[in-house]
Symmetry: C2
Subunit: 408 residues, 2 copies
């Protein structure tokens, strides 16, 4: 019995017309196996960068409404070419912009959120045997302006279309074989995961695994839409990201690592209620995202407050902190961008004791000093010195036996 | 008192971001003189060709619906960048696709005709001091598909927007100073015309003057919308194309020439009613446009039938003619692409006798043999040998004293 699938192809799978035709062949194969397909596409390879360069040539900080109108042409090119490639393969196909479909978003240009997807048109086309080919990454707001969802937003479009259509699965094609226990470039023993739960994927994504956009995973989890991460360059079965409720759970499923953050510390802030908000509000008000946050008691009723931000935001954040420190009567500001974050993630951690201490012991045995620790229900993250990242990932991968499958 | 103007910039005026910013400066100047402006843009320089190359890489004859969806991105890029450039100049501006405005066309992809332009949105924006920047060349059909108007269609969009807004003038910016008595590259004495009537412009356009798209002039004439042809590269006042009803009319206003046609002749066709239709219908059914048509009586109740088509269509037309000749019991087919068409155009010709014989005499004096003749109310065209085109244009330009202005 055929399935209804959404197949989303990213920019690396569409880097030129040859790769685009290879993606068309994957769609043909899926159809020939008796399935129905709706296709969602990103812009081709560096097309978005080309458009951004054009904008920057005119204005260093272009108007966001116009920026969205500009970059949304990238996906429009992809979908028209794909519809041509499919009709060359004797399939009926029609391209649709988010505008034509009425993918409604909020007003926030550049980082809009999808509010509503109208699928009557799509359902009608699929019923007639037509493959709809849909622009990812974009939508329209209630004033009829074009919006974009931000980088990686095409994943979210894929999931949103899949949910609205009631598809069986949303397949996300990329240039990697799927989700690995850790980054294969850092650890040669990294193993492809057959499946991973939504919450693990969420923690892995937020901890540095770049394979899926965080918001897309959230959307899929909320709507229980299975995502399969696949490579358009290989025949690998990929990784199924889904709701998992099995008995035997791996304690640690994966390790993610991230080395593009900087650590900022403000020392000797008076330890009063609301101090965290006073420190962090000016940072987030200026559009800087904060990742790990740690607060420690300092000397004499003061507190030391440390957090990490993306390296590109480090110097702005440092300036803001200096002002905050003045107004709060705090002490010195320290900035360190020579750091890395390593996280272990596993749905089996829940209710298991001793995982954290095992992690810390492994790091101690390898003479890796921990600078910050933060934990969630199914994740433990440590911030360490950047040049020790590879050593830490490999040691933890061995210690938690991630090279061995549970069922093996 | 400020005017309401539509300013349309073509691809050569937008060849890169520098030229696009120069066009923005022209708009700023127009606004600073107290006028209101709506802007219509073509795609930047070779952008449309880039898109066509992408399509051809996938399919030699791409699906027309998808082709339109693809190439319409070219103007979308222009308008977003222009809105950025205008806001950099402290003007309020908003880009609009034909889709967002609801520029309704018929279904004919690649060569659609505008049926309706909704301007409430535009009027509201102009009233608020916002400059609307609109994609030329495109529209949407009643199924919500993107359509394009064919090459040069941005002129038509400009005129259609001007008419719908009730603008005072539609200004078409290009890379030439305006409309000349003849092509300055062929005749060094060619003179810029201050004004020219709609019907002269129509005849000049259809006879080879490439400065304005024929359909745009037709649309403007029908709606009495003055068009000013201007250069975005100079300060030239340009040429005003408008309804002219003066007493003293130049007998000949301009000379146009064309050397990209081929002449096809079918000989000895039985001279029966309907034979012209039988010969030409299969030609136009296959999408080939026929220009000059001449039918002559041949020997013994047969007729010789000659017409011209674009050179790129010549061999297809020849094939079709061979079949037609077989079924009609006609004779041989001749094809000649070594020809040129030279036309003299003038609203003063109407009711004046002797113009044609003067033209033929000038050509005879210069030993230029005439292969075909066709006339309309304000135009006389001759088809001659290609290598005599320049000689003919210069001789006629002298004979009709086109280097001298009427009022001089």
């Amino acid at each position: 019995m055929g399935k209804l699938l959404v197949q989303k192809f990213g920019g690396t799978s569409l880097v030129d017309t040859k790769r685009l035709e290879a993606a068309a062949d994957i769609i043909v194969k899926t159809i020939s196996e008796g399935n129905s397909v709706a296709v969602v596409l990103s812009a081709m390879g560096v097309e978005t960068d080309r458009l951004i360069d054009l904008a920057k040539a005119i204005h260093p900080e272009p108007n966001l409404r116009e920026y969205d109108a500009l970059v949304s042409t990238g996906e429009q090119i992809s979908v028209a070419l794909m519809a041509m490639a499919l009709s060359k393969r004797n399939l009926k196909a029609k391209s649709y912009t988010a505008y034509q479909l009425g993918i409604q978003t909020n007003k926030r240009h550049g980082r809009a959120r999808i509010l509503d997807v109208k699928v009557e048109k799509l359902k009608k086309q699929i019923k007639k045997g037509v493959i709809p080919v849909i622009t990812g990454f974009q939508g329209m707001n209630d004033e009829g302006d074009i919006t974009t969802l931000g980088r990686g937003g095409s994943d979210t479009t894929g999931v949103a279309i899949a949910v609205a259509l009631g598809a069986d699965e949303c397949q996300i094609f990329t240039d990697v074989d799927g989700v690995f226990t850790t980054d294969p470039r850092i650890c040669s023993k990294a193993r492809l995961l057959n499946q991973v739960s939504f919450e693990e994927m969420l923690e892995l994504s937020s901890a540095g695994a770049k394979v899926l956009q965080l918001r897309a995973v959230e959307y899929a989890r909320k709507n229980k839409m299975p995502i399969r991460v696949l490579s358009s360059f290989s025949e690998s079965p990929g990784t199924l990201v889904e709701e998992i409720e099995e008995m035997e759970r791996p304690v640690v499923s994966g390790i993610s690592s991230l080395d593009n953050e900087a650590k900022l510390t403000i020392r000797g802030v008076p330890d009063l209620p609301g101090v965290a908000a006073k420190i962090l509000s000016p940072i987030s008000d200026s559009g800087i995202e904060v990742d790990v946050i740690v607060q420690n008691i300092g000397a004499e009723n003061t507190t030391d407050f440390t957090f990490t931000v993306d390296q590109k935001d480090a110097s702005s954040a440092e300036e803001i902190l200096k002002n905050t420190s003045k107004s709060l009567g705090g002490g010195s500001i320290e900035m360190d961008d020579d750091i890395a974050k390593v996280s272990i993630v596993g749905r089996g951690m829940r209710g298991q004791s001793g995982i954290a201490s095992k992690m810390f012991q492994v790091l101690a045995d390898n003479e890796i000093n921990i600078l910050m620790i933060t934990t969630s229900e199914i994740k433990i993250s440590v911030v360490i010195q950047k040049d020790l990242m590879k050593k830490a990932v490999n040691a933890l991968h061995d210690a938690f036996q991630l090279d061995k499958s549970l069922k093996a």
